[in-house]
């Protein structure tokens, strides 16, 4: 059942929010031992939130469009009193004393938080294999990765453990898991959703956003969490476009007059043939819906991945300096004989996993004297060139399209030995993060029996445009259903 359908049942009085929450908690009990989408299930908190919705309804109060709908939240988002670890040992057992803005807005909207979902440690990874608490399994094939870093949120949707989830997208961590699990994931415009209360990975890129099984559901969740937040200095003080109306317009299946740009540089090099075939079929469907397809060259997109893997580790090496064993989290080696510096080093050694250490060291290198200009400085210039590519492309077309990922869900362990091979999973998603605009992944078909994602990228603050195109494609393709668990 979609979030829209669940909300209708509750507002129509056909089901109580408590019944809906209980059904989802029971489903988690039944399948999560095999899927491992959740790091923490907040049964009591969920039932209390559901009871509050039922009481409000009984008292005749006006309910919001998602009141009583369960939602799962990626474990990098701070939740007051509920464990928040970013899937790292260094934060094991930490219960934040405050809510992130997106969580506060979810609560205000009457949604029911089921618990916290698994992810790559500190959102660094593309497979959820770097979680310190063990990987999440893809409901389509339990031997394959669910994408990353938000693999837990995407798998919870695909396994019908939750109708909605929150993710964060730094280089593709909402869209890539959406693509490989056959679900919908949207990265809003950077600054369109608040980063307050997100455990920072790469501050100039991190963007919280919605995950759902349908485009309209994603838009409904987007509308709840988006909007200006004075607590985040990068939050954009402008009204959020009406993404729900745009999704509903798209769902009618009419794209007459819409110009879509096919990125020449993403013509398929490095991508699996099955992925490209599913993508081309989807492009044909869009043409039948009335869209005009234009080839657009974005010559600097090929440098996005290298630029990202300098900028993101640089920012992470700075952001993760706060995990020093002083104010929260783990402390190791404090036996009274060791200095603060030694305790700090031992704590970070014990608390961080291999990918986090690699990126902290890489970032320290890229920012160090003598290398700063050659690496970090150059990467920031590439960011300018990529932004120019997007700007000139959007003078000719309404949105850009590409596959979301170059390959379908791969088997566990097949890319962990060579980090750069893993980084290629985000090849098509990263340019958007460097530019800051919105992008969405919507299922467009299967390759080798596994889902393929279709990406729509739009200009900054034109999030409504991508929802319209994605919903139209969804109307032609339909939603994908994984085999029963």
């Amino acid at each position: 059942m979609t979030a829209t359908e669940v909300a209708a049942l509750i507002s129509g009085g056909e089901a109580s929010a408590v019944e809906v929450a209980t059904a989802h908690l029971d489903r988690i009990d039944a399948v999560d031992p095999r899927v491992h989408a959740f790091l923490h299930v907040d049964r009591e908190g969920a039932l209390a939130a559901a009871r509050a919705v039922d009481e409000k309804r009984a008292a005749g109060a006006q309910l919001g469009p998602l009141a009583g709908v369960p939602v799962a939240v990626k474990d990098i988002v701070a939740t007051r009193g509920v464990p928040t670890t970013a899937a790292s040992k260094i934060l094991e057992g930490w219960r934040p004393p405050y809510d992130a803005t997106v969580v506060a807005r979810l609560r205000a909207a009457g949604t029911v938080m089921l618990g916290k979902t698994n992810m790559d440690e500190f959102a660094m990874g593309s497979s959820t294999e770097y979680s310190a608490y063990g990987p999440t399994n893809n409901p389509w094939d339990l031997g394959r990765i669910p994408g990353g870093s938000g693999g837990g949120s995407a798998a919870a949707l695909a396994a019908y453990e939750a109708p909605l989830a929150i993710g964060t997208d730094t280089g593709g961590s909402i869209r890539q898991p959406g693509a490989v699990t056959g679900t919908v994931g949207a990265k809003p415009t950077y600054g369109g959703t608040s980063r307050y209360g997100l455990i920072a990975f790469s501050s100039s890129l991190d963007t919280p956003g919605p995950c759902a099984r349908t485009v309209t559901d994603a838009a409904l969740l987007h509308a709840v969490i988006a909007g200006h937040d004075p607590r985040d200095s990068t939050s954009i003080p402008q009204p959020v476009p009406d993404v729900v109306a745009a999704a509903r317009q798209g769902a009618t299946g009419d794209l007459t007059g819409v110009r879509l740009g096919l990125v020449t540089e993403f013509s398929g090099e490095g991508a699996e043939p099955g992925v490209m075939a599913a993508f081309r079929d989807a492009v044909e469907k869009l043409v039948k819906l009335g869209a005009e397809i234009v080839e657009v060259s974005c010559p600097h997109f090929q440098y996005a991945l290298p630029a990202y893997y300098l900028i993101a580790p640089s920012e992470c090496s700075s952001n993760l300096a706060r995990f020093d064993g002083v104010r929260y989290g783990l402390r190791v080696g404090d036996d009274g004989n060791r200095s603060l510096e030694e305790v700090m080093s031992l704590t970070r050694e014990a608390g961080f996993g291999p990918e986090v250490k690699r990126r902290v060291i890489l970032g320290t290198y890229a920012l160090s004297s003598g290398y700063y200009d050659a690496y970090y400085g150059q990467a920031q210039k590439v960011r300018t060139l990529i932004t120019r590519d997007f700007t000139s492309a959007f003078e000719r077309v309404d949105a850009l399209i590409s596959p979301t990922t170059p390959f379908v869900a791969f088997p566990f362990g097949s890319r962990t030995s060579d980090p750069y091979q893993m980084y290629l999973a985000d090849l098509f998603t990263i340019p958007t993060n460097l530019y800051g605009g919105p992008a969405i992944s919507v299922p467009c078909g299967l390759s080798e029996g596994l889902p393929v994602g279709f990406q729509v990228m739009a200009p900054t603050m034109a999030d409504d445009r991508m929802y319209r195109v994605a919903a139209a494609l969804e109307s032609a393709v339909g939603t994908l259903t994984p085999p029963p668990l």
């Binding site: 219960r95 950077y190 100039s204 990068t234 200095s339 603060l340 320290t364 050659a374």
Partner: protein, 99 residues
């Protein structure tokens, strides 16, 4: 671009306040070398006259009115601390023996 040596990784780990094992040093030196060779391509395109972009939205300081507002209590602020004493964070000693 220069290759990254094992000693350099050890130095960077020290700068990052990260104790690493001998095995990790070997592993990271090899992997970082591959990553750096792959990302060095950024040097191919960005000419001198291209301004850098650090952030996709303009950064401005955001101030609020200087009015008292509710905030975390002392207990809440200390609730996640590995160690606390007398209402403060307790840290390991800051000076080494020789200091």
């Amino acid at each position: 671009m220069t290759a990254i040596s094992r000693e350099e990784v050890a130095h960077l780990a020290r700068l990052s306040r990260l104790a690493v094992t001998e095995q990790e040093l070997d592993q990271f030196a090899g992997q970082l070398d591959v990553i750096l060779q792959s990302v060095a391509r950024v040097g191919e395109v960005a000419a001198e006259d291209i301004p850098p972009t650090s952030h996709s939205v303009p950064l401005t300081n955001v101030y609020r009115d200087d009015v008292e507002q509710p905030c975390l209590t002392q207990d809440e602020a200390l609730s996640g601390a590995p160690d606390a004493a007398e209402g403060r964070f307790r840290v390991p000693r800051i000076l080494d023996e020789e200091d």
